[in-house]
């Protein structure tokens, strides 16, 4: 009988070792379990089930009609009229209002940052040169992306389109903040000028 227990325990050990190979679908245990050393007392980002919020989510959208600190209001409406208005009248703060030493000035550094951001957020469709030949276009996931050369665009319309999107292009306002949108805008203008040469 004794040997029987030993033999079975040995086989149990083998099975335990063998079963280690499967995929790890749940977390392992941690020292000090669920103490506040490990789990934050404040709400974790994106967590849910908090009774203080109506929908229980930690990630709340801004109250309608308010602007979060550090964000900039954009008054042009999301419509064809707004597009034309922005195209004709919206001008970059980087060029005109900014004093010489301002970070909002169109400078080499701002254009370099614009290029960096353009390559992340735009080039996958619009192409690194702005010719409408991004990787997604080459793979025929998106088609008909315009060449900047062939479109009458102004800094106002570029900014407006990044803000709201146009046609099948969606809004990129959540991915780029105000300053970054202008940096990208100026880089797009530069690309277009290069293409027009």
């Amino acid at each position: 009988m004794k040997s029987f227990i030993k033999i079975t325990s040995v086989f149990a050990l083998i099975i335990a070792l063998v079963s280690c190979n499967s995929e790890q679908r749940s977390r392992k245990i941690q020292y000090m379990g669920d103490t506040d050393m490990y789990d934050a007392v404040p709400y974790e980002a994106y967590s849910a089930d908090h009774k203080v919020f109506k929908n229980g989510m930690e990630a709340q959208t801004p109250v309608v009609g308010t602007i979060a600190r550090g964000k900039v209001a954009y008054d042009y409406p999301n419509s064809e009229v707004g597009y034309q208005l922005a195209k004709d009248s919206l001008r970059s703060p980087m060029k005109f209002k900014a004093p010489l030493d301002s970070i909002y000035r169109v400078s080499k550094a701002n254009l370099a940052q614009g290029k960096h951001l353009y390559n992340i957020y735009c080039a996958v469709c619009h192409g690194k040169k702005g010719d409408g030949q991004g990787d997604l276009v080459k793979r025929e996931k998106f088609l008909g992306v315009p060449n900047y050369k062939g479109r009458q665009i102004t800094e106002g319309s570029i900014y407006h389109v990044i803000m709201y999107g146009r046609g099948i292009m969606g809004s990129h306002a959540s991915q780029l903040n105000d300053k970054e949108r202008w940096q990208v805008t100026h880089y797009v203008e530069q690309l277009r000028n290069d293409l027009l040469k």
Partner: protein, 509 residues
Amino acid sequence: MKSVNQHRKPLRLFLSSLIFILFFTMQLFAQDGNAKNGKKIFNANCAACHKLDARLVGPPLKGVTEKRTKEWLFSWIKDSKALIESGDADAIAIFEEYNKIPMTGYSDFSDQDLADVLAYTDDKPVKDASGTSGAATAASLGIDSLQVVKGKKIFNANCAACHKLDAKLVGPPLANIADKRSADWLKLWIRDNGALRASGDADAIAIFDEYNGSPMTAFPELKDADIEALIAFTSHASILEAKAKTGDTEVSNVAEVASIPWATYLVLLVVVLFTIWVYFISGNGFLKLMMTIAILIATGYFLYAWLMGIGVDQGYKPIQPIAFSHKIHAGDNKIDCQYCHSNAKHSKLSGIPSVNVCMNCHKSIAEYTGPVTEERDKVFYDGEIQKIYDAIGWDKEKLTYIEGYKQKPIEWVRIHNLPDFAYYNHSQHVTVAGLECQTCHGPVEEMDEVEQFSPLTMGWCIECHKKTELKVESNGYYAKIHEELSKKYGVKKVTVAQMGGRECGKCHY
């Protein structure tokens, strides 16, 4: 005494066979361990900047041994800077070609490690890359196929942004449009639809009103022949697709053959049988004692390893609510990590994209068209895309958001999570240091399902801080302090650790 003698022969036979089996299995390991171990090393160290078949930060590495000698590669990997400074022409050329970003030196690699990595760059099977050109001629069908091909080109370049053939997009579907409207009407409309509407054409005004009064871009530059080609394409597009489909069978990679188990199980079985024999059959006291000691040591070893693994979730691979494949998005389609994880550049967290970011592309991509496997076929993938629409309330037939829809958040499962007592900031690593995401997260662009690649232990953090040099170029913030510190430590380049990246309070406070 007699009984011991009797047992000696089978024991010896048993031991020698055991040794033989051990040797045999070790040889097995050594043989396929080469490229396999190389892959492991490659993924852990090289994959952050190199791919096999494409340029990443550094050049593609497949077949690199055919271009350079082994000696050259060894000295390059161990210390590329020294090689460049020695005036090696090849080394200088590659340095210049890749924007003068020096490669990290791996002086701690053994020659065996290096040989394994090189074996891996040689061995990897070539991916099937038989692309098909859609421009197949269909002369046999009796339609002017050249015209259709030309029409497709014009359509893709000008119309496809707002029109699909068989479904509504921004504008109406265009398949067989010639049945509804005359060619002359279409020519007028395409060149200047505003003028056509102004002339009071009833059809033109009706279509304008139906599509929310957003005018179609005018294409005055399209000639008669272009528009005729377009019409030919919208009527006969199917002949191109039929041709393209025949060559469209992509071979999915054969699953890797699991090579470890059998040898391991065999050895294990032998060890267990031996143990049983020693305790219950042999009756040899000395052997029992030795066996007990061995078992105690082994138990201690495994117990220690298990304790050290507590709280370390390397390899954690939870089931996500949507079978989102990073391989398809970041790998095949080359969408930048930060396109979706856009918070990484400013924030502590890298951010989970809100659904509007998914919709930037999936407004028009409602169907999966890539390669499929048996478990994951087109229906499966289309169902997964449908989950986005169910979450946000998108009507994929009408291409509008459903009014008053009760949106449901997608509850992604967090994989990488540091305990609350450790502080980590993405923006500092991504924006300031300019690290590639893959440095810590591994080759995510190859993962269908993401798993935790790095252990995320403190030792792992410190190890990297010790050997990583500060990125001071184009970073005015570090210029002055770097100058002072490099004098203090008497080094050319200051590491993160010397800058304070090893102080407790930097991460624990």
